[in-house]
Symmetry: C2
Subunit: 496 residues, 2 copies
Amino acid sequence: MEKVVNLAKRRGFAFQSSEIYGGLASCWDYGPVGVELKRNVKEAWWRDMVLTRSDIVGIDCAILMHPRVWEASGHIAGFTDPLVDCKVSKQRFRADQLFWAAVVVDGKTVGHVSALESDATEAELQNGAEELKRKKAIQGKLEPVVAKDFTQAAPEEIPLIPSPATGEPGSLTPPRSFNMMFQTYVGALRDDTAVAYLRPETAQGIFINFKNVLDTGRVKVPFGIAQVGKAFRNEINPRNFTFRSREFEQMEIEYFIAPDADWQKCHRDWIDAGLAWLESIGIPRALLSEYAHPKEKLSHYSKGTVDIMFKFPFGVQELWGFAARGDFDLTQHQKFSGKSMEYFDEAAKKKYVPHVVEPSVGVDRVLLAALCAAYTEDEAPDEKGKLEKRVVLRLSPRLAPVKVAVLPLVKNKPELVAVAEKLHAALQRRYVSFYDQSGAIGRRYRRQDEIGTPWCVTIDFDTLANGTFTLRDRDSMKQERIDEKALFALLDEKLC
Amino acid sequence: MEKVVNLAKRRGFAFQSSEIYGGLASCWDYGPVGVELKRNVKEAWWRDMVLTRSDIVGIDCAILMHPRVWEASGHIAGFTDPLVDCKVSKQRFRADQLFWAAVVVDGKTVGHVSALESDATEAELQNGAEELKRKKAIQGKLEPVVAKDFTQAAPEEIPLIPSPATGEPGSLTPPRSFNMMFQTYVGALRDDTAVAYLRPETAQGIFINFKNVLDTGRVKVPFGIAQVGKAFRNEINPRNFTFRSREFEQMEIEYFIAPDADWQKCHRDWIDAGLAWLESIGIPRALLSEYAHPKEKLSHYSKGTVDIMFKFPFGVQELWGFAARGDFDLTQHQKFSGKSMEYFDEAAKKKYVPHVVEPSVGVDRVLLAALCAAYTEDEAPDEKGKLEKRVVLRLSPRLAPVKVAVLPLVKNKPELVAVAEKLHAALQRRYVSFYDQSGAIGRRYRRQDEIGTPWCVTIDFDTLANGTFTLRDRDSMKQERIDEKALFALLDEKLC
């Protein structure tokens, strides 16, 4: 993971937000190469999910929404994390990420230990328990610790559990709910009437525009509404680079179906479409898996949720969620707004509130997964033919920030430069082309390898003679002679 | 204007945000057609300003930024509107939009009147003055009112000016500064250390990443950094549909030049580039004008600001600002962050903090200008040859949400439908194509006219015989026979 983060920073994929001021925790800025990669992720998704499907239309809603939206959706009451304060250190922890265990010697509890969630939580607790036993000079057999999170602590146990900040018990408060929506005030007043929230998801914007789309979009159930846009969650422990951040971008669809339609099939079709799409943008199937949320952990209205998981270097984590949400959201908005959310089905000659299947994926997560999957180190010959380490991003051509680099062999031959510039201009009409004339050709190839450019075209003296140039493939490093027409045909085939 | 707003709502360009809950003042949601138009505005700008220029790179920064950014930029101290409270009605007004006048009869002041800014402010004040004279039964000659805004009221005049809410004097407070940035809290605490703001402009994200881009972007002065993204301003009186809204999207460039470079030329070049770009997306030059900000109204660091103005139906208003900002921003961030913002110029062999020219334009405003410029009513024959009113959006093909509509003449001939579907699928590989088989052909044309689709292709029985179809032009309504190859060549020429 460290290697991916370093490359991201070194080559201008992503920087910490407000870095010169010490950073704003868990917000990220995309650099010159990153912004193109991000644009390509969104464009590929929009093309495949909206533009080339006749059953899906898009919308683009404001981030600031009426507060009643979040009452209806349940976010004001329920979009919370359990938080624990340490009264001594003034630090805060998520209760479900604060682990503790009783220290038991010969069947008798002699103290408690705690540790924050990490790859080594269990080991830390075990070590802590051993140290406690040693410190207190207790004889006997230490039993293996049984880790629990802080939400599982009984009220009488809370004062006994040490704070991870101080190591001493007595300073942790019972967990309390903390709403993760960012709050602000709209208009000149700062009172309850002026409260608004930054949307924590793009989905609700779709539900509240359901009727507007029905009235203007020429759509018929089953159909979907898609949205791409920023969402905000005031995470207490954001982490893993861009994986979990406070400001992120979502790509969501609400797919509306009849109440008596086969929702399991629709749900399965969407999961399969998600897997196929991820493969189509170069994320190998072998790194993807499915996780079905256990029935007992689902919300009361949920019929089923399955996540597509990706094997990140820091663990297998959620990439894309597929939730069958029934008619919960539309019904709630119907109730809270007093506006009908019913659809008249002309074929079935009846009115109903449609049910919904919701595929929801984060742009930043797809981008990070693509980067992790693409990062490769192999060997390539340097100028003198000696093998040296090569870093290469094997991004799919659709995602690559630059599609083709045009490189005149040397920069001090005006004939070569003129041909190269002309080719670059012709390519730019359709594709993102990058022109680079400075440095040894091997170093120029290496720079393109690091940002994932699939093809390099070198203009040399043979070009002047016969109009062909060297096409160099990023992955195989093979070179072949090709003319302009064949180059355009190749790009057209791979990119359209 | 009303016609444009009605069409926007009726055909799914834009809706008021959170409409089912009574709306959130001055935020807007783009519908199925509007989202494509907006995407096309941004894509055309990005292509022309970033991808096809070798001197500009893009970035994409977080909306939430470190509060020190806004101290350095001057927004915390100076990004304010003067506000006036009415203590009785609890309403708030912008002081510069609240007008008042003394009521003078025979050279003697007998009272005061007030009115909010509108097209009829002067007339309202004059009427108010006449009514006051009548009510008080004062004889003599009423002098014409001289309207002033509330910032021009002397302290002793303030208690005499009636509130526009109640009509009675005595309840208005002196103007006070109100910061227009939306404030929120990041993290679990709600105190001064956790304050953050939603960015009121995208420009500062560019400045604080200047060094990151220098280090990774392979750029040399002169060069520019571009960004497209949301910004937020807590406007007290937002208005004119999407023209001035609280949440909007900007397209900004900071173009860095040497301190001794000819900034006037650079500034002028950018204004010309702006005009040319607006023309290239179909906004007629005749509706555009320039406005140079008077020297005495510029900030102390500003060398000059020129706006490109557009003739909206509600008046000539700012569309695109071009500010020569010197080295103010980079120098401020250098001072506040302690990080050097110097650039080493290899050609000139010297170090300096670059100066900057800033072209800044709103996505929503360009979109609105394009809609206003494109909206046309003419006449077209109906099914029976009778002329009827036609609403047509003469959008440039690059901006049009749908590029081409594929229409089988009738939907109950499988041969026609099969050919149409095949053509639609082929078109979709490259262009946004819309398939529509229901309704009379004239009505289908009219629907496409209303959303600005430049070309319609009708598949009829001749198509089966000779492979040609009818190409119908939106603007001229002329029809010609064309084959698939010629259609692709036309689209390629007009859209690439």
